[in-house]
Symmetry: C2
Subunit: 68 residues, 2 copies
DNA sequence: ACTATTTGACAAATAAACTTTACATTTAGT
DNA sequence: ACTAAATGTAAAGTTTATTTGTCAAATAGT
């Protein structure tokens, strides 16, 4: 699963720490997520979409490997 | 988090077992999800949206309690 | 160059998602 | 009423998300 959180964050011009606060998660969670180290829960994904005011599909996209 | 998987499934007229196969999870996972017993992972949520050909936000909606 | 801020990274712990197996209950068809 | 299919439920186990704490590396401002 790919995500464009870093890009959305850049658009809003906020730091990982600030986004973490808005999304109510730890900064490490945002960081690891941006680096593709793991996939956020659906609740967090929905929160982020709401924060960035975009559809989830605009931020998160499935890859072929996600269907194995 | 609420979801309308049961409704989407009804639209397609398929059983939990059939959806489970399409989404590549166990039938119990679909069942528990429909009953609100737990929230699917983002990967599974994206898979379901793709299967039903709708936006994730059409299936999954945040509730106030998801922001606590 | 110095300093502060931001980001990347790791480890240990907890919580939550998901699987498998198995059984009970409900629903629909005949 | 009988039967088969579909759905609900539960326990035990595995995997993955998330937290907290901590430190190193990179970036930006002065």
């Amino acid at each position: 699963m790919k995500n464009s959180i870093k890009v959305e964050r850049a658009k809003k011009n906020i730091t990982q720490a600030e986004l973490a606060k808005l999304a109510k998660v730890s900064r490490q969670t945002i960081n690891a997520m941006e680096l593709g180290k793991y996939v956020p829960s659906t609740v967090l994904a929905l929160r982020l979409a709401q924060i960035f005011d975009v559809e989830i599909s605009e931020i998160f996209t499935l890859e072929d490997s996600d269907w194995v």
